[in-house]
């Protein structure tokens, strides 16, 4: 690939992918967010391929939420996942069929369900947590530990900020 004239007023490193300068993407946060999401998601799919939560768009989150919040309702999970209730219900179906969680009817509200982790699900949750930690160590090893906290705070702030603006 020929070396193009470097952009005059742009001092950011014009880094390339497939021989293409990426500065044409307007240096948009959103593009990198999406790309990182794609890589991380695929990698996570591979690492969890042998588990009930494989190919997870929301199964992992649902499992960990139930594990950490006994008696949680499907609608609460839906809100965290930012999915509608039907989609969330099917994720829960899947986990129930696999024997990782169980449904009970909420004592305070007969309409609602209360979800609880099973022994099998609890073991699975622990396994998933280990996998997530491994992935984090592998992918973010270039960030020194003290900067990881900073990065995490930045992501949390972005997430909170965005959620607040949506309503």
């Amino acid at each position: 690939m020929t070396k193009p004239p470097t952009p005059s007023e742009n001092e950011a490193q014009p880094f390339t992918v497939a021989g293409l300068r990426m500065d044409v993407l307007e240096g948009a946060f959103s593009w990198y967010i999406r790309a990182i999401d794609a890589v991380v998601s695929r990698d996570l799919d591979q690492r969890t391929a042998h588990l009930d939560v494989a190919k997870g768009k929301g199964k992992i989150t649902a499992l960990l939420l139930v594990d950490g919040h006994p008696g949680i309702r499907p609608s609460q999970i839906a809100e965290v996942l930012m999915r509608d209730r039907p989609a969330t219900g099917r994720i829960i179906d899947h986990l129930v069929k696999a024997g990782d969680i169980r449904r009970e009817s909420d004592a305070e509200d007969q309409r609602a369900q209360a979800l609880y982790i099973t022994d099998k699900g609890s073991a699975l949750a622990q396994e998933v947590r280990d996998i997530i930690r491994e992935q984090q160590d592998d992918f973010f090893d270039f960030i020194p530990p003290e900067d990881r906290d900073e990065f995490m705070r930045m992501l949390q702030r972005a997430y909170i900020n965005m959620r607040n603006k949506l309503k």
Copy 2:
């Protein structure tokens, strides 16, 4: 959104969504990345709903790449998008039918195509860039300008690091 049900005992709020403590998600970068991606993507879909590139999973990137790299090949776009060639080909089909780009056959390699922006596409690209900039200003206004560069560098490093590990 549900009402905040926990102004009772805790003052060091550990960060909740829908009344649920989120620390059960293992403080995983990947979870926040995915959530932010979902919010940003939906918002971008709304902002571009009236354009040819609406509902874009890759159309916007493809358009900007062609605009910034005259003569680019579909396979190069596929590599940036991290999609397979069939998926990329259909995105290009869509943009060609809409009259935003045009195909020519590459002079150096008769198998390959060389893609060029049209006047219509060029105007669209400018419009898209404006929208992206607006979105960035809206969503990341909580980050002071000097920290935005830092955040951006962090994202770029994460992206590069991940891509390198995939090979």
